[in-house]
Symmetry: C2
Subunit: 188 residues, 2 copies
DNA sequence: AGACAACCGTACAGCTTGGACCATAGGAAT
DNA sequence: ATTCCTATGGTCCAAGCTGTACGGTTGTCT
């Protein structure tokens, strides 16, 4: 069995937590929760499910007629694979895939279009933060759950981004890192 | 001409800033700078260059023998396209592609493996931060340049991540967002 | 009945990814 | 000189991923 992609574990994780679902149902779950942190286009869900079925990690039962739903269920092998991933994973480095930062990087030093970019980005991040706040209040996310923690990180990131772009917009470009200079890696 | 991918603009941007280069040279530039924010596998550089050449945004001149280098140069059309992207772009939302957060999301509430995960992640982010610090001191990044700003954001993100995971590790899970609750999006 | 929205699946061209492989050039060591 | 090592530079390719468009089904409202 080849190594599974992180997306595969999104499928396994959701099936494990919420029980059998159709790919469509998975899509609903993903949008508005983990989709913010790990994008997952709908079209991939079907192929991903098929792949997982091929490896025996989920079972697929398709209705013969009508909507021809594919009901997915996680198998014992799938649950085991998930558990293994949850505890011991290779920890690929994170990557901030932010087109705004990319554009900033390629701006000329004197370009005053930087300020325009900063204003745009600040707005965008404010919007995203508002979505998160909405999620926390509306959706029934259990207190002290890992889901809430994840979302908290998302909000903190948005706050950081808002502050970052706002300072650029106002011309207060800070060179040094923030107040508390988190120290170098501990020797191990 | 189809819409270009962000990666295409990485190529255009580097050629525009540093002058003609081989794909290999681009790769060197990317690793250790913008590569942290927008991953770009080497093999894609050649196809991306070919695509840009097809659209007339760069010119490719390949040596007939020896190392058969492909020297890439940005064309006027390419520079125009770049300038257009720099000023007016559609601003796709950012996405934190962090496998660590993904794993956190799928942890069970009572799992004490959360702490182990947090410890791992904290270490990883400390390492990444150290790389950034190295870059700032070593590489000749101009003061007050957009490149330095981008890197600053990277460092601030790492500090945030370190703090986030450290708190989880120590069991101090904070529900609310950080001190200054950056306000809702301004009405527009 | 008809219109409409939500539900659910399929198809596919083009792009991306990771890794393996090969070949050249320059320098260092024997 | 010959060998070896490393950096340089390119090519290939099977998989997987992405976006988008399309086509049916079911429930609901009028």
């Amino acid at each position: 069995m080849p190594t599974l992609s992180p997306s595969a574990f999104v499928v396994l994780g959701l099936l494990d937590r919420y029980g059998p679902m159709t790919p469509y149902g998975l899509d609903q779950r993903i949008q508005g929760s983990i989709g913010y942190f790990w994008g997952f286009p709908r079209s991939q869900l079907y192929s991903e499910a098929a792949r997982l079925a091929r490896f025996g990690l989920v079972t697929e039962v398709q209705e013969a007629e009508g909507r021809r739903r594919r009901l997915l269920s996680i198998t014992d092998a799938g649950a085991a694979e998930l558990a293994r991933w949850l505890t011991q994973a290779p920890t690929e480095p994170a990557e901030i895939r932010d087109a705004g930062l990319l554009r900033l990087f390629f701006q000329g030093s004197s370009d005053q279009s930087v300020e325009q970019l900063a204003a745009e980005q600040e707005q965008a991040h404010r919007g995203r933060l508002a979505e998160y706040v909405q999620l926390v209040t509306d959706a029934g996310i259990p207190e002290n759950s890992p889901q809430l923690l994840t979302l908290t990180m998302g909000m903190r990131y948005e706050e950081l981004a808002i502050d970052f772009w706002a300072k650029i917009k106002d011309g207060r470009t800070q060179i040094s890192t923030s107040a508390t200079p988190a120290c170098a890696p501990t020797t191990e």
